[in-house]
Symmetry: C2
Subunit: 303 residues, 2 copies
């Protein structure tokens, strides 16, 4: 395994344990009330076979500034909960109508639509609860910094970020769009949350604006490369490798880079973006080697 | 008009103006992108003919501690956005399937299901953004206090509060339940957000725990009385007066106090709870007169 794979696996284990700790407990609630089904749906959506890509970016980005993992963990958990909620809602019949996710039935297929909607709502709510929670203790970041993180996360997930981007994605279906419009949509839909992940460490460390902006630029190039790679996987990947329904983009007439540029040009574009992303990391010297290898990982992944 | 009606109308105007200021602007976004539809859906759900009952509780509760309206306004706006999002999601076909809300078509009827789901998500997200926003300026509450508010709001809206309560409500459909179980469900579904509203001022003022707990107890009795009154309105109200579909509870086999106790007993129960609510306010003397009259208003309202 490469250094990146080792580091990602290690972070994934930490995240899984911390999610387990932060999510409502399965057994206790199951014993006391019929909301057990909702608890199970939340846990199903957040736990299990995720790459934990965004939490990894949070942790790796924070290490650039010598922010201890324990101090960046709440932001890592919060962004993963937001990501998990977005997958649950995006998969709903009224949205992308996807029945497979991470190699398993989507949340609404398993628990029903009403419970899936509520599980998404509850995960989104809990994400902010985690960032505001005081149990972080004396070593946690100070209150003003945590408020900044919350404001930044709300902006990244809201109308000018992820939620707005998903609305654009739906609006673009069965229409032809220029690559620039698709890039704007993808930047909102996935890029903003990835940007939050990369910047969280700089916010926590109260790093100079120049450092935060470098990570912001890195994240936007990385996010776009990630999304193009995702489109390519959907176009040519197998369900076995990706663990989600494939070929749905074309089926649903989605506006993707692959549809606009073709497979070969899309692959070249992703490579250029990954190379460009890495250049923004010069500021950090070899401390940023892990983030450099992430850019390579993003365009080579098979699932 | 009574003193309460005057005060509520005044707060409603303030809230409307502040919501207008905090929501994404209609014209600007409409001109620049196809996410205009989502912006319109958010505005449709949050603006217009609401009673602004929860924001009023926030403002009135904060005045008990001489917290200026400008300092409690963000909490008032946040709780109203959470309330608005919950109505949008609760009305969805997979949930309560209600087509009428506040005298107008429900959000999903007007904008489609996908946009309604996203509008709810974006309002929920924006609520936390408002509480974390730094533009409050030097007169705003300090950061630790604002984090407490965010944590409290997340708890009230999440799995152990509103979202969990809605799950119980759905699970209880077409089943017979004891009044105590219904009370627990209602306490989670509507009571927790009302409790947040009543306690927000005490949190902002860093008031003694005894004062916050008195408002907590007041809120729980008030919330239950409010919900029973709501059930009664659904059972015997008219769509003209309530502005939402009525008779749906019985139609959907919902577990309500009216179904369990009958109309007369439910009405008596609401009266007892309102009287009990008021007793918790003794601590505050005549400063709490407005909140006292709220208890009376809650059980007498016709819509």
């Amino acid at each position: 395994m490469s250094a990146l794979q080792v580091a990602m696996a290690e972070v994934a284990r930490t995240i899984e344990a911390e999610l387990e700790r932060r999510l409502p407990a399965s057994s206790a609630d199951a014993a006391t009330g019929p909301e057990a089904r909702l608890v199970e749906a939340m846990r199903y959506a957040a736990l299990g076979p995720g790459k934990r890509f965004r939490p990894f970016l949070v942790i790796a980005g924070a290490r650039l500034f010598d922010v201890h993992d324990s101090a960046s963990l709440p932001a890592a958990i919060a962004v993963e909960m937001i990501h998990a909620y977005s997958l649950v809602h995006d998969d709903l019949p009224a949205m992308d109508n996807s029945e497979l996710r991470r190699g398993r039935p989507s949340c609404h297929v398993k628990f029903g639509e009403a419970t899936a909607i509520l599980a998404g709502d509850a995960l989104l709510t809990l994400a902010f609860g985690v960032l505001a929670d005081e149990s972080g203790g004396a070593n946690g970041p100070e209150a003003t910094v945590r408020l900044k993180l919350i404001a930044r996360l709300a902006a990244a997930a809201g109308i000018h970020g992820m939620a707005g981007g998903q609305a654009l994605d739906l609006a673009f279906a069965n229409e032809s769009h220029q690559a620039a419009e698709i890039a704007r949509m993808e930047r909102m839909k996935t890029g903003e949350l990835i940007a939050f992940s990369c910047e969280a460490g700089a916010i926590l460390a109260q790093a100079p604006e120049r450092a935060r902006m470098a990570l912001h630029s890195y994240a936007h190039d990385l996010g776009l490369a990630y999304q193009i790679a995702d489109d390519i996987l959907d176009a040519e990947g197998s369900e076995d490798a990706t663990g989600k329904s494939v070929g749905r983009d074309a089926e649903q007439g989605k506006a993707t880079f692959v549809a606009q540029l073709g497979l070969e040009q899309a692959r070249r574009q992703a490579g250029m973006l990954a190379a460009q992303a890495v250049q923004h990391l010069d500021l950090f010297g070899e401390k940023a080697d892990l983030l450099r290898s992430v850019a390579d990982f993003v365009i080579r992944r098979r699932g």
